[in-house]
Amino acid sequence: MKLFIGEGNPHCLKVLAALELSGVRCETQLVKHEEKVVPYLTHPVLPILQLPSGQHLFSPNSICQYLFDISGQKATDATNQWLEWEATNLQPAVLQSLQLVALQGKRVEAAAVMKEPLSWLEQSLSKRKASFLTDEVVSVADVVLWAALYPLLSDSAFEPGDLQAVRGWFERVCSVSACQSAALRVLQGKGAEALKSFLQKQPVTHTPRRDSPSN
């Protein structure tokens, strides 16, 4: 099994954290953004996990889920639901927001883009009594959402408004050592700046998908 990662690629944050947290042994290899790891994909994608069977996983969330699965934490309705929300609602907003921060220095606009998904997360978390999204322990859902939000929420100049429940949850996941080391490895203490060359290669998104459930 082999994990291919790219420098300054935000999607690598979640898989590196999941890898360390799950305790799965796996070789990692750093490759260039434009390097094609999966022969059947037209556009190069990272991270990629090459499975023992030789098959490639090109979805970061599926890689995380697989690592948790083989270490004994099976997917549940609750984790599936968070992963689906992250992929369909949170990711498009995060990408747009990161581009605004890292490429244009527009933190106010970036915060506006994140308002809807973050208030949905705030609502969901404030209704719950548990320390984490699905349980009292960190699940794949926590790692996936935390990693998506980390480059934004760890930036002290990024002000998405009053999000007490989100902040509390975010700090709890941040204190997990596997998450700390993954963050250091991908962002190298430089924040969203470290993602610049990756973000420049992504298509610019103008309108976020506005379909978070509203009140």
Binding site: Y40, H43, L83, E84
Partner: protein, 173 residues
């Protein structure tokens, strides 16, 4: 659209008890109202739940690797295939065609939920393809035809005529 898919999936799974659904937001994300617990939101989440309810776990993959591959294609369906542009469609079909070169189903040799939801999601694209275009994606066409003839899958969708052989010569002689 998503609700009709879920109804077809319920029928395929042989679930007798009718589930209650609603939709959320502009993209009409399906929500399953659950008497025994909190509501579930999202097409893939609900579909996986229905499969478990019907006690057909093999449709989600038999081992961890297969489960991951199934999840990956389910995610691909809702993040890439749904709402993609005309240009993106070409890349999606091209990649899928190369992927299916040596496979019967998306997870290899076994039929899974990934085949069902990809079939439902890609149907409107395949319907629109001209014969010449279908020829560019022979493996996709073969897979698509296979799934639409799989017992109990097609339900709400009309059958599509798919060519299994080339009509137009692919090169000059």
């Amino acid at each position: 659209m998503a609700l009709r898919e879920l109804n077809s999936l319920e029928r395929f799974l042989g679930l007798k008890k009718a589930n209650k659904y609603s939709t959320q937001g502009g993209k009409k994300v399906p929500v399953l109202q659950n008497n025994n617990g909190p509501a579930l939101t999202g097409l893939v989440t609900i579909a996986c739940h229905l499969v478990k309810e019907a006690k057909r776990p093999e449709l989600l993959g038999d081992d961890a690797e297969q489960r991951a591959v199934v999840q990956q294609w389910l995610e691909h369906r809702i993040t890439k295939l749904d709402n993609c542009s005309k240009e993106e469609v070409k890349v999606i079909l091209k990649d899928l065609n190369r992927y299916l070169e040596d496979k019967v189903y998306l997870a290899g040799n076994v039929f899974t939920l990934a085949d069902i939801l990809m079939y439902y999601g890609i149907h409107h694209i395949i319907v629109e393809l001209a014969i010449q275009e279908k020829e560019c994606y022979l493996n996709v066409s073969r897979w698509f035809d296979h799934i639409q003839h799989y017992p109990g899958i097609r339900h709400h969708l009309p059958p599509v005529v798919v060519l299994r052989n080339r009509v137009y010569p692919s090169g000059h002689h």
